[in-house]
Symmetry: C3
Subunit: 344 residues, 3 copies
Amino acid sequence: MNISYRLADIAAQLGGRVLGDAEARISQIATLEKAQANQISFLTNSKYRTQLAGTRAGAVILGEADAEATDLPRIVSDNPYAYFARVSALLNPLPEVRPGVHPSAAVGAGAQIDATASIAAMAVIGEGATIGAFSVIGAGCCIGANAVIGSHARLYPHVVIYHDCVIGDNLIAHSGAVIGSDGFGIAMDEGRWIKIPQIGRVVIGNDVEIGANTTIDRGALDDTVIEDGVKLDNQIQIAHNVRIGAHTAIAGCTGIAGSAVIGRYCLIGGGARILGHLQLADHVEIAAHTLIGKSIREAGSYAAIFPFGKTEDWRRNAVHLRHLDDLVKRVKVLEQELEALKRK
Amino acid sequence: MNISYRLADIAAQLGGRVLGDAEARISQIATLEKAQANQISFLTNSKYRTQLAGTRAGAVILGEADAEATDLPRIVSDNPYAYFARVSALLNPLPEVRPGVHPSAAVGAGAQIDATASIAAMAVIGEGATIGAFSVIGAGCCIGANAVIGSHARLYPHVVIYHDCVIGDNLIAHSGAVIGSDGFGIAMDEGRWIKIPQIGRVVIGNDVEIGANTTIDRGALDDTVIEDGVKLDNQIQIAHNVRIGAHTAIAGCTGIAGSAVIGRYCLIGGGARILGHLQLADHVEIAAHTLIGKSIREAGSYAAIFPFGKTEDWRRNAVHLRHLDDLVKRVKVLEQELEALKRK
Amino acid sequence: MNISYRLADIAAQLGGRVLGDAEARISQIATLEKAQANQISFLTNSKYRTQLAGTRAGAVILGEADAEATDLPRIVSDNPYAYFARVSALLNPLPEVRPGVHPSAAVGAGAQIDATASIAAMAVIGEGATIGAFSVIGAGCCIGANAVIGSHARLYPHVVIYHDCVIGDNLIAHSGAVIGSDGFGIAMDEGRWIKIPQIGRVVIGNDVEIGANTTIDRGALDDTVIEDGVKLDNQIQIAHNVRIGAHTAIAGCTGIAGSAVIGRYCLIGGGARILGHLQLADHVEIAAHTLIGKSIREAGSYAAIFPFGKTEDWRRNAVHLRHLDDLVKRVKVLEQELEALKRK
């Protein structure tokens, strides 16, 4: 990679205030620990200032509070972490893709593929599907009939989008993601499960990222909805008729059961479970590995994790959980008896 | 979609008792809240009667207890939820598929594909594999050598079935499902793991549905077995040599460890974990996010979930779990001392 | 399968001591319960000797302690479980694959595919990728640009490896595994998430096995590293910049958050969660469904599982967890008051 920029160039594009040598030229971004002389690093928290002292980076991004903590050429930003993200994007542009349809791809009748879009090898585009401008459909992706994908999408290999789903602009979807599979809808009838057709769609807003092997089921009757700016990590399961509010971020392995409604700007930790038909307010944070079994009406941070310990300690303590109600009753009896004794 | 039916037509096909205008014509099914005049809705629980009062649906499905709760044209059924499923299937038939093998598919030597089956683009059918009548193999699916798939299967894009697996009729498998991957069999020998070949198969009965990105490992020596009518949601992991009893339904993200035997008509909540070599009786219900660490011999409902709370409350309470055994001992000492005091 | 071996042949290849008829010929391996006369079985634990008494196996593998527990032709080994694994591999060689590139595969410019390697139907090999000697790339696999795969790899259908990842020899990767997807790196800026480019790679050592639908994210700046001999079951999520020490084995559905460092020879149970930036020492064992929220500096076994019970019992007990801190305070008050009473 031969891209390089002077600090002055970067600040001209991204803002921020340059201190020290604005002619310093950098070509990559790296951690304080590993950065070399032609690389820029970043300090997002003053408590890591000791690492700053030892860095061999050629330049550094930092906040106002740390502006004078080094003599290195530097860019001062209100939000050095976001600035780092922007510099990294500048230094690491996505690889160019050639517009057009790879000869091995299969395109169904009536599909509308923008001339600037790129369809990779082995991809299958269903009948009547629409692929927007500058969108990149990776190798082996399958786009269902009449699905609509906006502009500037980037689908890595082996993403599957089922028929009729509608997706906004700037989607990033990683390999193995499945969008629009049938929700888990079954009805028991005389000892057998009957399938409930899943006739809703998945509707996804703009600026959404979906991790590898994440699954989003289509709605049973109405749609499953992922609002603008939602970020989903890997191996998340979103059941039918869920709605995820704008700018909510969900870490890997989380499962959200049917018809749950998640607010905006929520942060959900890895492996969390949200039961069906619940509602979470905006700005709710859920700890990793926590099951949420009731709606949460108030912003804030919620958790439910059994603290780990050495197995023998855990076992000695955990056994009492089966008798906690008895313990509480014993304490109540003690309180009453002690009160009686005191009165004597 | 231009399909429409009179209520009289529906009842003629599916049974049930029509009240009100049997000539009312409906073309889709929808919730009480969203249904329009040309749509039928359903009431499965009397407690939602207020929604019934406000619906704009053209007709409604309901149970005997609610038969007179509306003046709308209606069909009365013993099981309105199952009836709804059947009406939806009537109004939303699966899209027609063309029999035959797409020119881009790769079919191995000796594969037997029924003339009524459909093999989509980019699918790979292994040597000696068998695809039954009216089965639909979606785009990019891979069917291993000598695998057998019965009739009326519907495999969505990117299902993988490994060699030698045997599957009954009416399979539905969603994208990313993997059937027959190697079980996790390793033996430690002088500081290195040796792989234990997984020479069993996966054997699946009739009328099974498998969710997106669900994985079912082949047996180590004997087979992994999924009995008739089992319904598996997305992202479930079934380890080697598990047996799942007929008509059991398992919600998403559940993991079942090796050689566990699950009974018939069990209901397993999302994110549950069943440890290896356990046995669960028929008609066992497991709550979401619950680990089952011992066999369950008796039908019934079982759970183990840490109740969530605000993080500061949770932390204040949870810390005591590491000392629960001490607390129990302290209560015992209190009881003894109080008893001694009372005796004085 | 017509392979068969005399016990003498097996011992000549794999070591061990033959007792009884060394000419006994066996053609498959099976459990004590199911083995037939032409099959060999194994006893790995003396407590199953009663099964040994009833077996119809033609021969058996066992340890020194059980060497005289049967009259059957037998092979005595120090490690009968590992010996069983080796015998099974001998009797169940992998199917032969034809070297060469299937005509339907798409190979990018500059890709280097060893002449002994096999590229199956619909596979896509990126520009500049390297596939080592005797490696088998299954149907529909996608290998990213400039990725390097060593020798003797076996990729089952639909494995995706992103660009620039580097993999040692003897990789086994099951269907749906995704290696090198972007880590979950986002920075909040004025109400919107900005993507942090993930410019690290995934670097995998020799002798690694990766289960079906497991995902391993590429590093944000530095690499994600999987050391030699690591064994990963299905549906595991490995976040960016994780390092997994050599010969660690991880069961299915486990999630490991970003930058966690796992030691060598660890054993991690199914559905466990390891939070980000933690360190686990060598030889740490984690129970299934356990969240690890702090670094573990000492080898040993750790757990955190809420014990399950009948739902009504669980509910009666669990409700007190929200008031455990109060209970502890009440016990403290009781202790103080009782002490005061005793002093009177």
